[in-house]
């Protein structure tokens, strides 16, 4: 029985009882409890089932290293699987449920795997389930998937919110134990900006549990005073409930703050992800106790000795009335003393070392407890709960010497420094044989942007396991002046590495020694991996899944490495460790996404007319980060009908297109003409002031990258229009060449895309509409096709361009963006009598296709050069150079066999499906059907009442009139004739009026 003791518990507040449920059962704990301590206090030792064998699992640890005690927490939009109970603070009304069992925690059908365990050794699945071939996907894999997986998948949308925050510090200290506090104080006193974070809600770490004395005071008092001193300094930031989750290059350290996990529903962000830039990082992350490998060490009730001590001292919870302690070091005796102090029974301390004569063992003996040196546990007895242990000689094979009845076992295999942060960014480790641990190698730290060390490990994270060493190390490493705080400690005798208990255990026992209790990896599995040649620690990890569970092997990875080394007869440092990767413990994906969800999951760019579109039936199409109306739906209208209506309206009356998203870049200076001649394939320097010219831009690799109308504003100023998606890219491209290649050219650019709202007014009534607004002479003579004028139109400052993408009489008018909405409203009002209607991008696309105009992104896809599109007319022959020119001279690009642009007309008037390919005879060397072309744009033309298309076809322009085959769905073939790509108004009579 685990139970709540009647007194004590330094972290709980007995005046504040909190109620919660576990698998529907109501339980009670106190403010200050973790879920784990509350469960233990309510005698709930069995909390889950393991991954592979579905064995019963109890709480082992009291912190981040806990492999077993994971629960589903919360409900609906607040449900979260795999919540580690040892690091989750209890709150009133918490709803928890155990995981990975069916139908119940007590009776789990999946436990059949346990009975079959002998047939399921490490890596067994690589050797079987291969026949028949389809069976893996359809039979074996579904079973494996279903029995793995631990927690339930959340289904509802997350109800909480999250955020990021940025911080900067000279020194970031990770860990708020006595090492971290000492280091922070030393650094702060030296005038450094210090950031100190502690993953739990409380300062002080182990020292306050072990109740040592520092500078003559109880540790608790010393910690409180130090925290108070730090709080009073304005160069120090203190943060509890904030875990340093990862260290990245150039001193970038992540702090995962669990702001409101313990106060759900109070409106605060649930988690805050701190992104801290550190001048230097001090890892004071402590150490984690290791388990011991004896048979049955996974049975609920077997716990880490330090955890047992934590539960008794911090939360007044006793894991059992009779606790056997098994150890290879002196520290575990502190657990015996703590249990005795709490009035509990320690029947025996089993110590693997030949003798146990240090101060701590003697103190335990003095309390009347038997200490069995040179012994070990042969086997733990019990099923869902420990009932006793079988004692053996450590040097032997496991023969039972005596049986001891008990309901808990506290084990200690020594301590491993927490080296994760140290290692995340490349810090290396050395093997300390005396203390049987990997600790940071001070000569090989992670380095920062200046090439110097950016991390220092201090305290037990640096391998120092006694308080006096810890304090001295932390003080010194942080540049502390004067004397370090001093701790009064009992001297400890050396520990003895014990990797298997008893050392001569045979295969039957080794199959019951768990290394990874969550993933069910045993000593025998690691030995099997070694036997089969999976010699690298990475191989063994991946073959057996050792250390791949949600605890990432914090408790027992070292045991596994040691066993692997032993099996391969090589020293432990030669085996090394697996790579430590962030995060230290799992962090919520919600926190990683930060504020980016809902309306602000991504920026949405809006034109000045966006609001109008929104309230007038806009069917949106994302274009980059903009959203443009694809069409405007009227009540009861389908998308297709709307598009056709909009086209008819433009062709017969007048339409309005919000073209504000088009890029607008001013290029100015004495060398601007020369520059644009390099940028565009055509000649822009010769464009007269007052005129517009369509231009093409290519990448240096020759491919068409953007197009648009260039406007000569004045002698030394041009305005370049780009595609919607191209504005920022092309502006960046211009600056790149100006800054990095032709920096002696006198050219300035400015991206003024958003300065203007731009509207295309297109259709036979376009001029009439604008003339009604009044203020400018818009006659054919005053502003011929491909020219522009500036003036006032209906009271709006306007730049009017006579350009047309629809083939209609068309004006593109730019007004200041702030007046865009008013201008749009004015156009609609003035146009009412002329049948004006807004149109969307799809109508624009179809109309330009009717005219045979290319569209960047449709006719081009990054593999098309202007020559493919018969745009030679837009490529200057006079220029010696332009970006992409040399590339287009390469053999493959100059080849006459490239696919070239043509129009395509189906024989039956149908629309060729998007993306269809035209086939040629035969197959290629790889057995693929030969192709001779493809569709690039294909639409139903309401103007012509038939399908029209453009496409790229091999030798296409030379094959006018030929019919080619497009195989489409269901074995059907669409036959299409190669025609001129201009389908409508070939002579431009409609636009040149």
């Amino acid at each position: 029985m685990s139970t709540r003791l009647s007194k004590g518990g330094r972290l709980i507040d007995r005046s504040k009882p909190l109620s919660f449920t576990f698998n529907g059962r109501r339980m009670q704990g106190y403010a200050g409890d973790t879920l784990a301590s509350a469960l233990l206090g309510a005698d709930q030792m069995l909390v889950g089932r393991s991954f592979k064998y579905h064995r019963p699992r109890g709480i082992i640890a009291s912190g981040a290293e806990e492999p077993n005690a994971l629960v589903g927490l919360g409900e609906g939009g607040k449900f979260e699987p795999n919540q580690r109970t040892t690091t989750t603070e209890l709150f009133d009304g918490a709803v928890t449920a155990s995981q990975n069992h069916w139908p119940s925690l007590e009776f789990d059908v999946g436990a059949i795997n346990n009975k079959l365990g002998r047939f399921l050794p490490g890596g067994f699945y690589y050797k079987t389930f291969m026949y028949p071939r389809f069976a893996w996907k359809h039979v074996f894999e579904p079973i494996i998937r279903q029995s793995a997986g631990l927690g339930k998948a959340p289904t509802a949308r997350d109800e909480d919110h999250y955020e990021y925050a940025y911080a900067f510090a000279d020194v970031v200290v990770a860990g708020g134990g006595i090492a971290g506090l000492t280091a922070a104080l030393a650094a702060a006193k030296a005038g450094k900006r210090v950031w100190l974070m502690e993953q739990t809600a409380d300062w002080g770490g182990r020292a306050v549990v072990d109740a040592i004395e520092i500078d003559g005071k109880p540790a608790e008092d010393w910690v409180a005073e130090t925290v108070a001193a730090l709080s009073a300094m304005d160069n120090v930031t203190l943060r509890t409930r904030t875990m340093a989750s990862g260290l990245f290059d150039h001193g970038y350290i992540m702090g995962y703050e669990r702001v409101a996990d313990h106060t759900p529903g109070d409106g605060r962000p649930r988690h805050r992800l701190w992104r801290i830039r550190a001048g230097h990082v001090i890892t004071a992350t402590g150490a984690i106790e290791r388990s011991l490998s004896f048979a049955g060490n996974d049975i609920p009730g077997v716990m880490l000795a330090s955890a047992v001590r934590d539960y008794v001292v911090n939360w007044a919870v006793s894991p059992g009335d009779r606790t056997v302690i098994v150890t290879n070091n002196d520290d575990a005796y502190r657990t015996a003393l703590a249990l005795l102090d709490a009035g509990l029974v320690v029947p025996t301390v089993i110590d693997a070392r030949a003798e146990a004569k240090g101060a701590l063992p003697e103190a335990v003996r003095a309390r009347g407890v038997r200490v069995l040196a040179g012994h070990g546990i042969a086997k733990v007895k019990g099923g869902k709960r420990v009932t006793g242990v079988s004692v053996c000689i450590q040097e032997g094979e496991g023969a039972e010497i005596e049986a001891i009845a008990c309901d808990a076992v506290a084990m200690s295999g020594g301590w491993s420094p927490v080296v994760h942060l140290w290692s995340h960014c490349g810090g290396k480790l050395i093997w300390d044989a005396d203390r049987a641990m990997f600790r940071p190698d001070p000569n090989r730290p992670a380095t920062g942007d200046d090439g110097a060390a950016m991390v220092t490990a201090v305290g037990s994270a640096n391998g120092h396991l006694t308080a006096d060493e810890v304090l001295t190390d932390a003080h010194k490493a942080a540049g502390g002046e004067g004397k370090a705080p001093a701790a009064a400690i009992e001297a400890e005798a050396p520990m003895m590495p014990v990797w298997i208990m008893p050392q001569g255990a045979g295969p039957a026992l080794r199959m019951k020694m768990w290394l990874d209790p969550q993933n069910d990896v045993k000593v025998s599995d690691v030995q099997l991996a070694a036997r089969e040649g999976y010699e690298s620690v990475e191989h063994t990890k991946r073959y057996t899944t050792l250390g791949m569970a949600t605890d990432q092997g914090k408790m027992s990875n070292i045991n596994g490495l040691a066993i692997l080394s032993d099996a391969l007869h090589r020293p432990i440092p030669e085996t090394g460790t697996t790579t430590f990767r962030p995060p230290y413990t799992p962090i919520s994906i919600g926190a990683i996404a930060g504020e980016a969800r809902g309306d602000i999951f991504q920026p949405l760019r809006r034109t000045p007319m966006h609001g109008w579109h929104e309230t007038h039936g806009a069917h949106w199409e994302p274009v980059g980060l903009w959203r443009r109306p694809y069409c405007f739906l009227r009540t009861g209208e389908g998308v297709h009908d709307a598009v056709n209506r909009e086209i008819r309206s433009v062709r017969n009356a007048v339409g309005l297109l919000d073209a504000s998203t088009l890029g607008k870049i001013i290029v100015k200076g004495p060398d601007a003409g020369k520059f644009l001649d390099m940028l565009y394939t055509n000649m822009m320097s010769t464009l007269p002031v007052g005129k517009c010219r369509y231009g093409l831009m290519c990448s240096e690799n020759g491919f068409l990258s953007d197009d648009g109308v260039v406007v000569r504003l004045s002698e030394d100023t041009w305005l370049c229009h780009t595609t919607t998606g191209g504005a920022d890219r092309i502006h960046g491209w211009m600056e790149d060449w100006l800054q990095c290649e032709w920096w002696d050219w006198k050219v300035y650019t400015a991206n003024v895309t958003e300065q203007y709202a731009q509207v295309a007014i297109a259709g036979p009534n376009a001029r009439k509409l604008l003339e009604k607004l009044g203020g400018m002479d818009l006659s054919k003579e005053a502003i011929p096709f491909m020219e522009w004028r500036e003036g006032t139109l209906g009271g709006f400052r306007a730049r009017v361009h006579r350009i047309s993408f629809s083939g209609e009489l068309s004006f593109e008018v730019a007004v200041p963006a702030s007046e865009g909405r008013a201008f749009w409203d004015a156009l609609l009002a003035a146009g009412e009598e002329f049948g004006v209607a807004p149109y969307g991008t799809e109508a624009m696309h179809i109309m330009r296709a009717e005219k045979g105009f290319i569209m960047i992104g449709d006719e081009t896809d990054g593999t098309v050069i202007p020559q493919d599109l018969n745009l030679q007319w837009a490529i200057s022959k006079k220029k010696a150079d332009y970006l992409g020119k040399r590339a287009q001279e390469r053999s493959h690009m100059a080849s006459p066999d490239r696919w070239k642009l043509v129009g395509l007309e189906t024989l039956d008037g149908s629309v060729i499906p998007d993306g269809a390919y035209a086939v040629a005879e035969g197959v290629n060397a790889n057995g693929q059907r030969n192709m001779q072309g493809r569709v690039t744009s294909t639409y139903y033309s309401p103007t012509l009442n038939k399908g029209i298309a453009m496409g790229l076809v091999k030798h296409g322009p030379d094959r006018m009139g030929e019919v080619i085959d497009f195989p489409v769905d269901d074995g059907k073939v669409v036959k299409a004739r190669i025609v001129d790509p201009v389908f409508f108004d070939k002579d431009g009579e409609k636009q040149n009026v």
């Binding site: 996907k137 927690g151 998948a153 919520s588 390469r890 493809r934």
Partner: protein
């Protein structure tokens, strides 16, 4: 060394003796003085090349040299996606060859690589993307790659956890490859290594190449940390380190090395059977047999040999997916990692002869190498044994000079 057959029966038999009787999966030989062929790099591609040299061409006097541990590079760091729904002919050919070899790989190697054709979706979330994927479907059908375009309703049926009505990027449909899926990445390397070893080849681990020896423009051997080894032909199959090795042989490759990152969540019960790629927002996700959600995105932008990436790329990927898969918000990130990928100028691989006679190079798989492993090995073996292969024809390292690119960016915007 002769290979013992793996089966359920063998496991049952070994269980009786506590599994003490299993032999090594592959040998641990010292290098011989000379081999007909040396493959540098015992990742998936290198091992597969060696395997098919033996299996298809009877060339078994082969050493596969690895500076670390076999399968320890990108083979063991990727997100295990297998698909062949590529747009361009040469890509579709080699990836489909690979995918079809994956179908029978477990049986061919007698090693369960857990190929699971669970289906793969590429979401169409803009009209432009929809058109691009429809084009891919038509191309695939002519290339012999079975893909189809499916409706949003069908997407929802295949992926119950997806939000198809996202306010910004609703799902308009998807390019679906029913026989795409995943495999167990480590097992692919291990299975090939075991099979190579079984054919008498030497897999030499912990052996770094320190120099490439040539005579009269022809390769004669390599210097290694385990001594000089002679060979007639040399295959360089070292992914992110291709440039470094090429420099030792005296030529340069059109390659840049970048970090690519991925992450997994904590394991949860099965909730997504298929692989989903969302290129508009630059992220993709699948669920492993262990139950972890495996998530990946784009590469870092700068040259990097550290196998570490920048955290903001992880953030970008997660932000991208969280509106399409709202449930992931309440999962936890268990682990993130990085690998070094080798990117060419057109993001397609190089399988090619080189300026040095007898040296062949296989690199540039960028972010998509895992899915290609068997096809790449098959084709590379043919190239090395016969001097040419229809599968490698277009992947020559000289294509950049001619301007003859194999550009897949048309169809796929993310790393995978």
């Amino acid at each position: 060394m002769a290979m013992r057959r793996y089966s359920a029966f063998a496991i049952a038999k070994e269980a009786m003796s506590y599994h003490l009787g299993w032999e090594r999966a592959w040998g641990s030989p010292a290098p011989k003085k000379k081999y007909d062929v040396i493959i540098v790099g015992a990742g998936g591609h290198g091992l597969a090349t060696a395997y098919y040299l033996g299996k298809n061409y009877g060339i078994t006097n082969v050493a596969i040299i690895e500076k670390g541990w076999l399968g320890g590079g990108n083979t063991g760091r990727n997100t295990t996606i297998i698909r062949s729904n590529y747009l361009q002919d040469p890509s579709a050919a080699i990836y489909e060859k690979a995918r079809s070899l994956y179908e029978t790989m477990s049986q061919d190697l007698n090693y369960n690589v857990m190929f699971s054709p669970r289906g793969l979706l590429m979401l169409g979330q803009t009209e432009h993307e929809v058109r691009g994927y429809k084009r891919t479907v038509y191309a695939n059908n002519l290339q012999g790659v079975a893909t189809e375009w499916i409706s949003p309703a069908k997407v929802k049926e295949l992926v119950p956890i997806i939000n198809i009505d996202g306010p910004r990027y609703p799902v308009l449909g998807a390019l679906y490859q029913a026989r795409g899926g995943t495999a167990r990445h480590d097992a692919v390397a291990w299975g090939y290594a075991r099979a190579c070893s079984g054919m008498g080849m030497d897999v030499i681990q912990q052996c770094e190449v320190t120099g490439v020896r040539t005579e009269g423009g022809k390769v004669v051997g390599v210097d290694t940390t385990k001594g000089a080894i002679d060979c007639d032909k040399l295959g360089m199959v070292v992914a992110g380190h291709a440039s470094v090795l090429a420099e030792q042989a005296g030529f340069r490759l059109p390659i840049e090395s970048l970090a690519l990152q991925a992450m997994v969540s904590e394991p949860i019960k099965p909730c997504m059977d298929v692989v989903v790629m969302a290129n508009t927002v630059h992220g993709y996700m699948s669920q492993s047999d262990k139950g972890e959600m495996v998530i990946g995105g784009g590469t870092d932008g700068f040259n990097n040999y550290t196998q570490r990436g920048s955290f903001h790329h992880i953030e970008e990927t997660v932000r991208a997916l969280i509106e399409t898969f709202p449930m992931i918000s309440r999962l936890k990130q268990l682990r993130q990692w990085g690998g070094i990928v080798d990117m060419t100028g057109d993001r397609s691989p190089i399988l090619s002869k080189t300026p040095v006679e007898g040296i062949f190079v296989n690199c540039g798989w960028g972010t998509g190498g895992f899915k290609a492993i068997p096809g790449s090995g098959w084709a590379m073996a043919e190239l090395m044994a016969r001097g040419q292969s229809p599968l490698t024809e277009e992947f020559s390292m000289y294509r950049f000079r001619e301007g003859k690119f194999i550009d897949e960016s048309v169809a796929a915007g993310v790393a995978h």
